[in-house]
Amino acid sequence: MSKPTANWEKLGDKFYRKIQLYTAVFDQDLELENYHVVGAPYSGAVAIYRDENKIIAYRGAQANKASIDIYSCAGKLIRRLNWEKGTIKGLGWSEDEELLVVTEDGTVRCYYDLQGDFVPFSLGHGAEEHLVQSCRFYGSGFVALLGNNNLISVTSYSEPRPKLLAIPPSDPIISWSIIPPAYSLSRSVEVILAIGKTLYVVDATEAEDRNFDAGPFRHISVSPRGEFLAFYTDDGKVWVVSGDWSDKLSEYDSKVKTVPKDMQWCGSNAVALAWEDEVHLIGPRSAATKFYYDAWIHLLPDVDGLRLLTNDVCEYLQKVPDDTVDVFRLGSDSPAANLLEASSLLDQKSPKADDLIQLIRPNLAEAVDTCIKAAAHEFNIHWQKALLRAASFGKSVLDLYSSDDFVDTCDTLRVLNAVRFYEIGLPLSYDQYRRLTPEKLVERLTNRNEYLLALRVASYLQLPTSHIHSHWAQQKVRVSTDTEEDICSLIVKKLHGKPGISFEEIAHAAYDEGRVRLATELLNYEPRAGKQVPLLLNMKEENIALDKAIESGDTDLVFHVLLHLRKKLPLASFFRVINSRPVATALVESSALDQDRELLKDLYYQDDRRLDGSNLLLTEALGQSSLTQSLDKLKLASKYLSDSRDSPAQFQRQALDDASKLLRLQEQFEKDLGPRDNAPIASTSSSFIGLSAHQTIFELLRQGHTKRAQKVQSEFKIADKTYTWLKLRALVNARHWNELEEMAKAKKSPIGWEPFFNEVLAAGNTRVASVFVPKCTHLDVKERVDMWSKCGLLVKAGEEAFRAKDRGLLEEVRGKASGSAAVELERLIGMLPAGRR
């Protein structure tokens, strides 16, 4: 095994290492120098497309077709996107590995998976006129530069809202770059423009001249976290300035006449300059080192390093992590280095192992930690193992040590090694993995259709797998050439009953692919009925959609489908659809009652629901503002029932006809008697119209129109009892005491006399009330005595008791009395013989 330090380079006092990730990356025929190459963050996919400005050897019509090719870092073609949509002016990746393609006319296409599906949006703000010149991308957005030097910023791809930034001067821009919002001081994206000899900083509100005169600057590069800015001047110098523009940190003279084709940061500590086949790495204090290649080289910056890509190799250039330096540096006497040494001695069964351990004993825990960390950062499996073994050895010597980090690192390395494998081609460094998060890694694997590995990783790291399954299924329905039955049964077999699987999404994919039957079938397995509805509506399966909506119990959904249906279907078919579904009918009825009476009428008519129809007409009659209209409606309501012979309909008809009759009578009274004054039923209109039959009689009697009242009584066959009650109440209400006394002269009353007494008494007239007491002959003595007493006529009460010879009662009455009444009562008691018995 080669030394771990073999690929190290010293740059100032720091070490950099260049790790060879993959060899034989691209086909030798691919002239990489003629291509634009961009890599997704976190060692993601690499997209290349041919530079239209460069001449290329003609290889027949086939090869000449324009395309964007997406490769893994190991050079495996993931996807070829045929391109005939105009000149590409910007190609970049988001941190979720979405490929962004910006064409000259300002159209942005966001390829959200690696499968070629995209969401387009337009930049606007004059992009069509002035044309996009170039773009700069960051994790979640990008900035486009237009021909008129306007800058358009997009900050989110899920809800893109292109915004125009402040307008910089219109002089030609030599080079430019951006500071991502996460790292800029203003927390919004900032653009650095090199115009003439100076630099401008542009944000949403202003374009500020930084007053430099060392320009023109040929390249501008911002370090991954925005801490440093690097500029390449026309005279071959590299300036590094701190992110807040306060300090100029270093200046390096490349002493090269040609301007490099690219300048990128390698992590946050060094700047790489790339010429065609030469790379200069410049560290702090102008330390530099040079690498030479024998092919055209491309720089792909990442958060903690730089990927170098040629036809032959893919290399990773990064600063050697401190822990690794600690362990491996030549002549290192750090505890970790000693621990590694001890471990290898142990393998050789050398007793010196123990000596070494004893030597570093005080720092052993720290040494173990360092070894574990160094292992995490190591790409070479041999050294990973060696370091972990050393850590494990050190751990075993310690009495107390938490193994969590050790276990985590083992897990992580297993995953990392698996995805670094050339067939997968995701050469993630440990830091990148931490920043990317395991969930996103699984997502990337899923997007690459590496389902088995994704599932393994997910289950190994205990992550949910539902997304992987449904992605697989969606892909299956898109590309599989099997029969639809087979696809369906295969998917169902694999996924049914797994939590979190949305069959609706799979069905949607099938539908989008034009496989309607498959979509319908798959949709049946979606347990959430509500989820199925929108797709079913899309698929023009309204009836099923309605059934599913009803099944879900969500009336909102049902209503949604109904509204949809109502717009689409002719009325008759609409009714046919809802007819067999009571819930739908109920919902239509209840909403139509408030909003669309005509619809309801038609519905009742079609269903032959006579009673409901007539009720509806009655409701309308009530809503009319004039009496004639009301009467017309009433007539209609009654006519509606004319064919029905069953008893409820008959009854209703009778009632409706009575209502018309009553209204006409009331109209007549109104005419005859004029508006009534001081209506007893307050807050209603002061007219007869609208009153009930009883109220009409009551009102007539109150006003003394007995004849008319009797007419109403006979007209509506109102019982004598009822009439008497009404009369009594009306007279009491009108305080017609004389007439009441007149009534008392009658022999019999249909309701007895007690109510008379009660009502009159309640009205406060004890005198008239007392008139009725003797007439209540069916009551017993005690009650009558009470009645007398209530009228205040205690003597009468006493007499009543006396007549009944009830001493007890009499004495009770006596107890209440005073004054002359008391004397009289005393007398009565005395006359009562029974007391002596």
Partner: protein, 658 residues
């Protein structure tokens, strides 16, 4: 960690409050708030108006009044979005404001409890969807007391039984589902009634849907959330349709009577100012002050005095008030006299605010009780109560017809008459055809032809119907399960209790002075079998009382009784995966036998008297050595209901105009 209590009222209140305030906070600056009248009470219950003001609410408006002005740039609508009419009203107001106002307004709509597809569609059609930022305030359960949670869906009765619109069932299922996700599945769901069955089915259905829709990444809690809960015993669903009579009867508990006389809405009641006198007016009422001399009074279930009064039969409220007054007097006076040392004095002074609050509460309730006494002593009240009691005790209803007719002739309020008629119809499987027509005619003649509609609505709600179903009359006897047959039930569930004891209640029948509400009996037959069995069939040997009464085995009483009760009976068990079950029991330790929560859900509304009855049972369950092992009963409902609102949803308000 404090033990988790499922259906925790204060937790729910706090969450609802936070959600709303967060939403309000999301809108910068001052704002005008437009809300539905139906939500005003609820809002007041959750958030004080002063708090709303702190969060930038300037002026509140009612949607119904359509009068929101342009005084603020921000206009916030707080509206229930289930009904198309309200959505349209919102759209119209936005349009009006946009047309009339000079300033450019920022509209926000908070849909309660969820944003609906229909609202999106309607707003889009009206062309205002783009203008308003739409969010939702997921307000489901509103705690009215510690053990009473209501969805406060005022239209639930009308929707469910008149319009057959199952929206409230869905919302109920959603609300219960949220609780299940938090505290675990109801190990058992049982109950009675067709709509109840639908709710149970929905819950089971939603469970599979939630499992299927589990968001990737959420592995831990939701996975455990969908295993049977160890803290909840069961969910008992009672469909209101099963037991309309209980609603139709006049409630005789104190709280029930306050509701009957003054109406309680969201723990508030409006009382004539002359009644409560100078009780401190409550500052910061949500909504405009009414111009009349009505005063809003908070019926606070946390009030100490009220908590003893509310559930008692009104007959003893006078005594209780008396006792409270004397205690208060003696405790203040004696303390004053005995306060010799400064330490004692300080203690006394510290208690003073408590005394003052108690005094205020005493004053309020004394005047309320007085007013109620006036009401109950009225002849009309006693007559109708008499009819009610006679019908419930099983006397031939025909004997009551004369009284009802007389009451009609006396023109007493229509709801009272309808309650009596419906009571007769629902307890006797309908009225005889002849009688029904007679009463219908009488009602139409006495109260106006518009009530043709009222009567037809009542028939649709199955409240007032001819015997033998609403068919052609040719239909033979009703099929079993379509009507409730009270004759056997009176015996098998002992619905009528002649030896009712109102002072020292020994059975739930005290709430109606004789009638034991059917719905509560059904609940009892599930959770308090032993006691109920002993009530129904007192053991011959008193010492054997503790022994198992053969009736108490399994669900015998429940099964027997439900045969005679209308609607579907259901009993589902929700089991979870064994592994998850173990994990949960490990997490929660072994307090398996400890107090569990029994959730009783009334679909279509619950009356205050029923709540009292259930509380009575709950109290018995908590007793040491009782059969409930300290279980706690939580009462949930779609809304609060009383007889007048039940029939009121059928009453046609319109009348003929000149």
């Amino acid at each position: 960690m404090a033990p988790m209590i499922p259906f925790n009222a204060s937790e729910i209140t706090e969450k609802a409050r936070r959600d709303l305030l967060l939403l309000l906070e999301g809108i910068r600056g001052k704002k005008n708030l437009v809300l539905e009248k139906a939500l005003a009470g609820t809002l007041n219950l959750l958030v004080k108006f002063s708090t709303l003001q702190e969060y930038g609410v300037d002026k509140p408006f009612f949607l119904e009044n359509d009068n929101v002005d342009s005084s603020q740039r921000n206009v916030v609508f707080l509206i229930r979005g289930e009904k198309a009419t309200t959505v349209t009203a919102v759209a119209n107001q936005i349009k009006r404001l946009r047309r009339e106002s000079q300033t450019e307004h920022e509209f926000s709509i908070f849909w309660v409890p969820r944003r609906t597809l229909v609202s999106n569609q309607l707003l889009e059609e009206a062309g205002v969807l783009g203008e308003a930022s739409v969010s939702e305030w997921p307000l489901f359960f509103v705690p009215l007391a510690d053990d009473v949670l209501s969805l406060e869906l005022d239209d639930a009765v009308e929707d469910l039984y008149l319009r057959k619109d199952p929206t409230s069932i869905f919302l109920a299922a959603k609300a219960l589902m949220l609780q299940q996700q938090k505290y675990g599945l109801f190990p058992r769901i049982l109950g009675k009634g067709d709509n109840g069955k639908r709710l149970a089915d929905l819950l089971i259905r939603m469970r599979t849907e939630v499992t299927a829709g589990e968001a990737p990444g959420g592995t831990g809690p939701s996975f455990l959330g969908l295993t049977p809960s160890s803290m909840i015993d069961s969910l008992i669903i009672i469909d209101r349709e099963v037991d309309f009579p209980t609603v139709l009867l006049t409630q005789l508990t104190y709280e029930g009577l306050i509701d009957e006389v003054f109406n309680i809405a969201a723990n508030q009641t409006e009382v004539d100012a002359s009644v409560v006198g100078g009780a401190a007016s409550q500052p910061g009422q949500t909504g405009s002050a009414s111009t009349s001399l009505k005063r809003k009074v908070l019926i606070d279930p946390k009030d100490q005095l009220y908590s003893t009064l509310g559930d008692s039969n009104f007959a003893i409220v006078g005594n209780l008030l008396n006792k409270a007054a004397r205690r208060l007097q003696s405790s203040t006076e004696r303390n004053q006299l005995a306060a010799k040392t400064t330490a004692e004095l300080r203690e006394f002074v510290a208690k003073l605010p408590g005394y003052q609050a108690e005094q205020a509460s005493l004053k309020l309730h004394t005047s309320l009780a007085e007013e109620i006494i006036k009401f109950t002593h009225a002849d009309v009240f006693t007559r109708s109560l008499e009819v009610q009691q006679n019908i419930m005790s099983g006397i031939d209803p025909a004997t009551q017809h004369e009284t009802i007719t007389e009451l009609i002739n006396r023109d007493i309020p229509l709801p009272t008459i309808l309650r009596l008629l419906c009571l007769e119809s629902t307890t006797n499987a309908g009225l005889r055809h002849k009688d029904l027509e007679m009463f219908k005619r009488a009602v139409i003649q006495a109260y106006g032809p518009q009530h043709i509609l009222t009567l037809s609505s009542l028939e649709k709600m199955n409240l007032l119907q001819p015997r033998g179903g609403s068919g052609l009359g040719a239909t033979p006897a009703a099929k079993p399960g379509t009507v409730t047959n009270y004759t056997p039930l009176r015996k098998s569930l002992r619905l009528w209790d002649d030896e009712v004891n109102e002072t020292e209640p020994n059975d739930i029948s005290y709430t109606f002075s004789g009638y034991a509400p059917l719905s509560v009996r059904l609940v009892q037959s599930i959770i308090q079998k032993q006691t109920l069995a002993n009530i129904i069939k007192p053991p011959s040997d008193p010492r054997a009382a503790a022994q198992a009464n053969p009736l108490a085995q399994g669900l015998r009483i429940f099964d027997d009784a439900t045969k005679y009760v209308k609607g579907a009976t259901f009993d589902e068990r929700q089991a979870g995966e064994e592994k998850a079950l173990k994990a949960r029991s490990m997490l929660n330790g072994s307090h398996n036998d400890a107090a569990k929560t029994i959730v009783v859900f009334y679909l279509g509304g619950v009356t205050r008297a029923e709540i009292s009855a259930l509380r009575y049972i709950g109290g018995k369950l908590k007793e040491v050595g009782g059969e409930g092992r300290g279980s706690r009963i939580v009462i949930c409902s779609t809304n609060m209901v009383r007889g007048s609102s039940l029939v009121g949803s059928a009453i046609e308000a319109g009348r003929f105009k000149a």
